[in-house]
């Protein structure tokens, strides 16, 4: 744990140059079998627990955009809700440390091709609220407030879509 971070950051394992550059500490630790036994954490970074929340925010914002594109008269009602999700996405990306637009959102596909896009969005918001509640309950203290507010916001969206 002490040395794996700085040495193995490329995911392909340490090069000879890196090992030599790391000097004496590496060779002594290598002698203890540290490198054979410990997989490099940096190579397989686990996604941040809030990544699903970020993906969901982007998916919801996109779903609102599609609904407005299909029924422009809904714009005044739906655009502010989409804006809330974009604020969440930007802030979550900042918190997690990933660019928010790096990948296509892998969140839930919000089906709004139905006759009643508002009802479909409401269903999606209620599902997203549940995700956020679970994330809040699992979050460390410094994240609980923000994630809790996101959960509450999604609940207010469902209310606004009634």
């Amino acid at each position: 744990m002490v040395l794996t971070g700085p040495v193995r950051t490329t995911g392909t394992g340490p090069t000879r140059r890196q090992l030599l550059g790391a000097g004496l500490a590496v060779s002594t630790l290598a002698g203890c079998g540290v490198f054979e036994n410990k997989p490099a954490p940096a190579a397989t970074t686990a996604p941040d627990p809030l990544q699903p929340l970020l993906d969901e925010a982007l998916a919801l914002a996109a779903a609102y955009d599609r609904a407005v594109a299909a029924k422009p008269m809904l714009s005044a009602r739906l655009a502010p809700l989409a804006a809330d999700h974009r604020v969440h996405a930007a802030d979550l990306a900042k918190l997690i440390g990933t660019p928010s637009a790096s990948a296509a959102p892998s969140g839930p596909v919000v089906e709004n091709a139905s006759a009643d896009p508002v009802a479909a969005l409401r269903t999606a918001e209620l599902a997203a609220q549940k995700t956020a509640v679970a994330a809040c309950l699992a979050a460390p203290p410094d994240r609980a407030g923000m994630v809790g507010s996101i959960a509450a916001c999604r609940a207010t969206h469902a209310e606004a879509l009634r």
């Binding site: 809330d84 609980a144 507010s149």
Partner: protein, 137 residues
């Protein structure tokens, strides 16, 4: 956690007082019912907090309102103000609680935020929602 719960308690007590004042000024029956339901919910939260706090402080007999409440419009405005304030009082509890306590705090924050949105909608105050309910602006 006691300090944060005491703040939530103070907010709930103020909300109960505010609904007693503003309910009188609401005209529409649906709104009166909504206000009654909200007041009942706040009483439930106050009772929950009474059971949680070691030494709950007695609520003041009266409060200074942030603006005069004289008609349905100002009554609705006070309802929005109160629910926003209750949400803001509960949010800090999240970071100092775990498990069922955090779940209860989140439910209180969420309920207040939903009621605030409902009152905004009734009063035609836009936008109805905000990105971070409970976050002090």
């Amino acid at each position: 956690m006691n300090e944060q719960l005491a703040a939530a308690m103070a907010a709930e007590a103020a909300a109960i007082y505010a609904y007693g004042i503003l309910g009188v000024h609401l005209a529409a029956a649906a709104q009166v019912n909504e206000a009654r339901a909200a007041e009942t919910a706040h009483r439930g939260r106050r009772d929950y907090l009474l059971g949680k706090l070691d030494q709950p402080e007695a609520a003041p007999a009266a409060y200074e309102l942030p603006f005069p409440v004289t008609d349905p419009a100002t009554a609705l405005k006070l309802a929005v103000h109160v629910e926003d304030g209750v949400a803001q009082a509960w949010r800090p509890v999240l970071g100092v609680s775990q498990g069922p306590d955090r779940e209860a705090a989140l439910a209180a924050l969420t309920d207040a935020a939903v009621r605030a949105s409902r009152w905004r909608r009734i009063a035609s105050i836009t936008p109805w929602t905000m990105p971070y309910p409970g976050k002090a602006s």
